[in-house]
């Protein structure tokens, strides 16, 4: 990674030209894979992320089955070539195992798991290219993939990070801001009820900054939510037209 820039915010604008409360360019596509039961592709800045859903399907081995509910499993994985520095060794890292866990906990609240006792629903997130904010973009993609796959859901889950950079609260940190900023707080939200299903943070927030950051995250998630719904509508109307 290159040298730390002297300032990350110049004249109220971020180094990539964004306002503090602005998302990076966002593209969401639903239904991009043939074999998966549901799938989605998300680009957010330089992030390129695929998500796929399989299930509800039979859960092996049987002794892991839950008698009154389906089990949701999530796997967040980075392709070896997805990072700008050294090739990432294949296989799970401690970081990816933790992300897989919080991703699952971010998605569980919206799925009607009780409709499929004993079954399993698998969510796979592949980071093809990483550019800060992969876990939140992955959750955003996974939730579209689940909807694309017809998994019964209460709501979508929209997810984005907020943080503090040069003392300013900003939305959707890029790689430099993530690396050199003072705080990073990934959040996932159920947009309709404004409930939080993922919240992590590291860095340093005063109480006021913390509250300001949450508010900005809510605005960000609402923008993400809109793009998620557009992607799903586009897919459905294409299907209606095409088939």
């Amino acid at each position: 990674m290159e040298e730390k820039p002297e300032k990350l915010i110049v004249n109220g604008k971020r180094l990539d030209g964004r306002e503090p409360g602005e998302l990076r360019p966002l593209k969401i596509q639903a239904g991009v894979l043939k074999r998966a039961d549901g799938s989605a592709y998300v680009e957010l800045g330089g992030n390129k992320i695929l998500a796929a859903v399989y299930g509800p399907r039979e859960f092996h081995p049987r002794h892991l089955q839950q008698p009154t509910t389906a089990t949701l499993r999530c796997r967040y994985n980075m392709a070896p070539f997805s990072v700008s520095d050294e090739r990432k060794r294949p296989g799970p890292s401690r970081r990816s195992i933790e992300i897989s866990k919080v991703t699952r906990e971010a998605l569980e609240p919206v799925v009607f798991l009780e409709q499929y006792p004993r079954a399993v629903i698998d969510v796979f997130i592949e980071v093809l290219q990483a550019d800060a904010g992969t876990r939140t973009a992955g959750i955003t993609a996974a939730s579209v993939a689940m909807a694309d796959g017809g998994i019964p859901m209460r709501d979508l889950v929209a997810s984005v990070a907020v943080g503090k950079v040069d003392g300013t609260i900003v939305l959707d940190l890029n790689k430099y801001e993530d690396q050199y900023g003072e705080a990073d707080m990934p959040i996932a939200m159920l947009p309709r009820k404004k409930e939080i299903s993922l919240m992590q943070m590291d860095g340093n927030f005063t109480p006021e900054e913390f509250r300001q950051a949450i508010e900005l995250a809510i605005l960000g998630c609402e923008k993400i939510y809109e793009a998620q719904r557009e992607a799903l509508e586009k897919k459905y109307s294409a299907n209606l037209g095409g088939e």
Binding site: I97, K101, V102, K193, I196, F210
Partner: protein
């Protein structure tokens, strides 16, 4: 950490929560009994046994020489590891750390790292070549709930207990620790927020949120857990509890 809970127990604890009561008679903002015993392991460079209620966590610190990370050549290295050994709970299995052990280690790590409790830049021997590695090993001995707070408390206590190693490359008078971050976990049960969940409460809670704060009331790390959600009010409440209870926990450090 998942335990199958009978619906009887679930209803009982949820009903209590609705009345703002708890299984062991505590108030919603009350911790179980806390104790910290530093220095138990003479073979370690620092150690502490922390107990919160029946939960027991032993943390040992070892200082060893090694290479710095390529992207921080002028900084020592902090490595936090957690072992949920099967001695501590019927649900822990032998084997490499599972997602619960990894999350525990990483949450404790962030509380220490982000508060800049250890002055890592003082732990350099030869920049870019050799630095001190601070191994913080969390060894859970008895799991009766709230491993995060107990482990964080044992870890920061063990670090404050850490003595300079007998090695000619060590040039400092003492181990360079200067801050005192503590972590407070609040669980949500039937909509009520309560600190320091015991195991029975963890087995029925909707979600938990752990916040590490420093002496100035700033937040340095957060981790939400569990498969439910939190409202903005829940988060406000958790922050309020985190700051007030942190002062109480901080007294046990050292």
């Amino acid at each position: 950490m998942q335990e199958i809970v009978s619906s009887v127990k679930r209803n009982y604890i949820a009903d209590l929560a609705r009345q703002r009561k708890r299984v062991d008679g505590r108030g919603l903002d009350q911790y179980r009994e806390i104790s910290v015993e530093p220095g138990l392991i003479e073979n370690a460079d620092g150690s502490a046994l922390a107990k919160i209620g029946n939960t027991q966590v032993l943390v040992g610190v070892k200082l060893q020489k090694g290479e710095p990370y390529p992207d921080t050549p002028e900084s020592g290295v902090l490595i936090v590891n957690a072992e949920l050994v099967p001695l501590a709970s019927p649900t822990f299995e032998p084997g490499p750390p599972d997602e619960n052990a990894i999350e525990l280690a990483r949450v404790v790590d962030r509380g220490i790292r982000e508060s800049q409790a250890i002055e890592l830049e003082k732990l350099v021997i030869t920049p870019g070549e050799e630095v001190w590695i601070v191994f913080v090993d969390i060894h859970v001995l008895d799991q009766d709930g709230n491993l995060i707070d107990t482990s964080a408390l044992a870890a920061i206590s063990a670090l404050w207990n850490t003595k300079p190693p007998k090695d000619e490359d060590w040039k400092l008078k003492k181990f360079p620790i200067s801050k005192n971050p503590v972590t407070v976990t609040t669980a949500k049960i039937n909509g009520e927020m309560m600190v320091d969940p015991c195991l029975d409460e963890e087995s029925v809670m909707e979600a938990r949120i752990s916040m590490a704060t420093t002496e100035d009331g700033n937040i340095c790390a957060i981790q939400k857990g569990g498969s439910g959600t939190l409202t903005l009010q829940d988060i406000d409440k958790a922050y309020e509890l985190a700051v007030t209870k942190a002062d109480e926990l901080r007294k046990y450090v050292k």
